[in-house]
Structures are given as structure tokens and as C-alpha cells.
Amino acid sequence: MSEVLATALRRVSDWAIPIIAGAIVLTALIRRVKVYEVFVEGAKEGFNIGVRIIPYLVAILCAIAFFRASGAMDLLLGLLAPIARWVGMPIEALPMALVRPLSGSGALGIMSETIQTHGPDSFIGRVVSVMMGSTETTFYVLAVYFGSVGISKIRHAIWVGLIADVAGLLAAVWVCRWMFAN
């Protein structure tokens, strides 16, 4: 059942972009918009935005890479282990929880490794899978989104992002406990 649903949903993902693009162009033509000229006019901004986010990305990605390479994560793992135990998070899922907000590719690597080691259908395997899906690479998102409009004073955004991550990670643990209890 869930397999059928998943296939259907994946089909939606495959079809979405072509259908949306087609519908927009068709409507624009009907409304007598000069489609080619207007498209190119809009597309011109793309380059500027790409270049504008570079300094913000360099700042955040370098700091994170530096921090991770220094061995700081091991220290944090040690510090956070008692808290993880207290909220019922399996200790093996803690590296995933720590890296997820910092690095998308790093989190993907840790998730794959954890799944290989403990098995995809183990409790730990399921928890890290749900963690990957239920949270975002907050630091990257903040850098790119605010960088694209040149904002460096982001007020409460970083705290909101981190609160969202903690909530998503804890929810992953608790939802898994509840849904896959045996």
C-alpha cells in the first residue's frame, strides 16, 4: 500500500516541473504576454543572485568545515550524550542529529553509514532516516537566502532555525518510537 502511494508521489515529483512550466507559458500566451522577451528579462537576474551569495556561502561553509575538521564534533558528542539519553534518542543517532543542521552532504554520509552499520529496518536506521527527512541544513539555508538579498543582520532567524531543527530531530525520535514500537 505505502509502496503504491510512494510511486504515485514520486510520479508527481517527476511531472511537476514540466507541467508547471507548460501551464505558465500557455497562460502567458493566452494573456498575450511576449513570452520569450519577458522570460529573458526575468532570467537576467539569475547571474547576479548567484554571485551575490558567494561571500555569505564562503563565510558559513568555511567556518563549518573548519569546526568539523578540528574534532569539535567529538567533544560535542561527549557533552550531549547524557541529554540524548535523557530524551530517549539512541546514542548512535546523535552524530546525525549534530551534523544535520550544519552540512547536507555530511548528514547524508552519516545517515548512509549508520544505515549500513545498524541496518535500514533497525530502530536506529529508521530514526536517522526520519531525521534526514524532517529537518533542513539550517545554516546553509540562512546563508543563501539572506545572502541573496544582502542581509547580514538576521535577528532571531538563527534561533528560530535551531529551534526548528531541535523540534524536528526530537519529533523524529518520538514519532519513530510510537510508530515502529514492537
Partner: protein, 201 residues
């Protein structure tokens, strides 16, 4: 953000010295700097495509239509976006793309939405309430098909790689509620209030 960034760098230097990992850190730094530029440049093509397409959608009145349709639901979250403004339509476009798992296309649409919010932002170097709320929603947006996760699980020999979809949706929904509540609550705190941030340097 200044403190967090400072701690990441200084903490990194200190710990690298203690652990004797200076070489690894240097290597990581060089790699990351290169990757950042590649990431940004890699976005340009798709970004141009979506910006062009969204300009068409605006010209055809589709974005405004989307804004109007979803205004009743989104108004309490974004009170500072005026009536019939295309910003709301762009926000909806990004959230929809996220839900469908469209990756970089979703990012391109999100940056378009940020540009619209920046147009409405009175102080150009300070984040507006709407921006933070939008990012909170973006950060914990439900993905109907977590395609990468399913691929990894299935290649690891899972008996049912897709069984986690329901759990992901439920966990994300909880995260979304918490995130939006946090955004709306924190924006009222004196520490984060708009006038404070605009005045301070």
C-alpha cells in the same frame, strides 16, 4: 550570528591545536572555500530559468491569483505583506516546490520570494518579520517524497524502504508548528525587535 560565527572559527582553531589537526583543518578550509563558489555558480542556470518563468507567471497574473487565493490562510503569518502583493504568491510557489521535493528549483523560487520580501522591507540590511517566518516555514517544510533517503534505504537492503514516509511527514509537521510559533514569539522579544536591530550596529 556574529557570535556563532566567531565561536565556530575560534573554537575550531583552539580544538585543532589541542587535537593536533591543523593540517586537516587547513585542508577542510581550502575545500570548503572552493565548494562554496561551485555551489553558488551551480545555482545560476536553474535560477535564471525559474526567474524567467516566474516573470512570465507574473505577467500572466498567475502569481497574483495565487496570492489572492491563499491570502486568508497566510495573512496571520505575514501581516506586513499588503493585499494582492505578488510576494505571497512567490512564497507559496517555494513552499509547494519544497513539498514536491524539487531541490534546487525550490531554492531558486525561494530566493525569488526573498527578493519580493526585500522589496517590502523598510530597512534593507535587517531581516523583516516576514522573512524570518518564511524561512522558518521553509526550514521545516514537509517533503512528500524524501527521495534520497528512500534510495539509501533501498540500496542498504531495506524490506520496506518507503515505510518512513508517514513518520517523516508527521515529524516535519511537528517541527513546522514549533518553528512558526518560535518565529512569531521571538519577533516580539525586545532583544530581536525591529527598531533594536535597525539601530544597533
Amino acid at each position: 550570528m556574529n557570535y556563532i560565527w566567531g565561536i565556530l572559527i575560534l573554537g575550531g582553531v583552539l580544538l585543532a591545536a589541542i587535537h593536533g589537526r591543523m593540517a586537516a583543518c587547513t585542508q577542510a578550509l581550502v575545500e570548503a572555500a572552493k565548494n562554496s563558489v561551485e555551489l553558488a555558480i551551480g545555482l545560476i542556470g536553474l535560477m535564471a530559468f525559474w526567474l524567467g518563468l516566474m516573470r512570465l507567471a507574473e505577467g500572466a497574473g498567475l502569481v497574483q491569483l495565487l496570492s489572492k487565493l491563499l491570502r486568508p490562510i497566510l495573512k496571520p503569518l505575514f501581516p506586513d505583506i499588503p493585499k494582492d502583493d505578488p510576494a505571497l504568491g512567490n512564497i507559496v510557489a517555494n513552499l509547494t516546490a519544497n513539498t514536491l521535493g524539487l531541490g534546487n528549483s525550490a531554492t531558486a523560487l525561494g530566493l525569488k520570494a526573498m527578493a519580493e520580501l526585500q522589496r517590502l522591507n523598510p530597512s534593507k540590511n535587517v531581516a523583516s518579520n516576514s522573512m524570518v517566518t518564511f524561512l522558518a516555514m521553509n526550514d521545516s517544510c514537509i517533503t512528500l517524497v524524501p527521495a534520497t533517503v528512500i534510495a539509501v534505504r533501498s540500496s542498504a537492503g531495506s524490506a520496506n524502504p518507503t515505510e518512513i514516509i508517514g513518520a517523516v511527514i508527521l515529524a516535519t509537521a511537528i517541527g513546522l508548528i514549533v518553528a512558526v510559533t518560535a518565529a512569531k514569539t521571538l519577533e516580539k522579544l525586545p532583544l530581536f525587535r525591529l527598531s533594536q536591530a535597525a539601530g544597533a550596529n
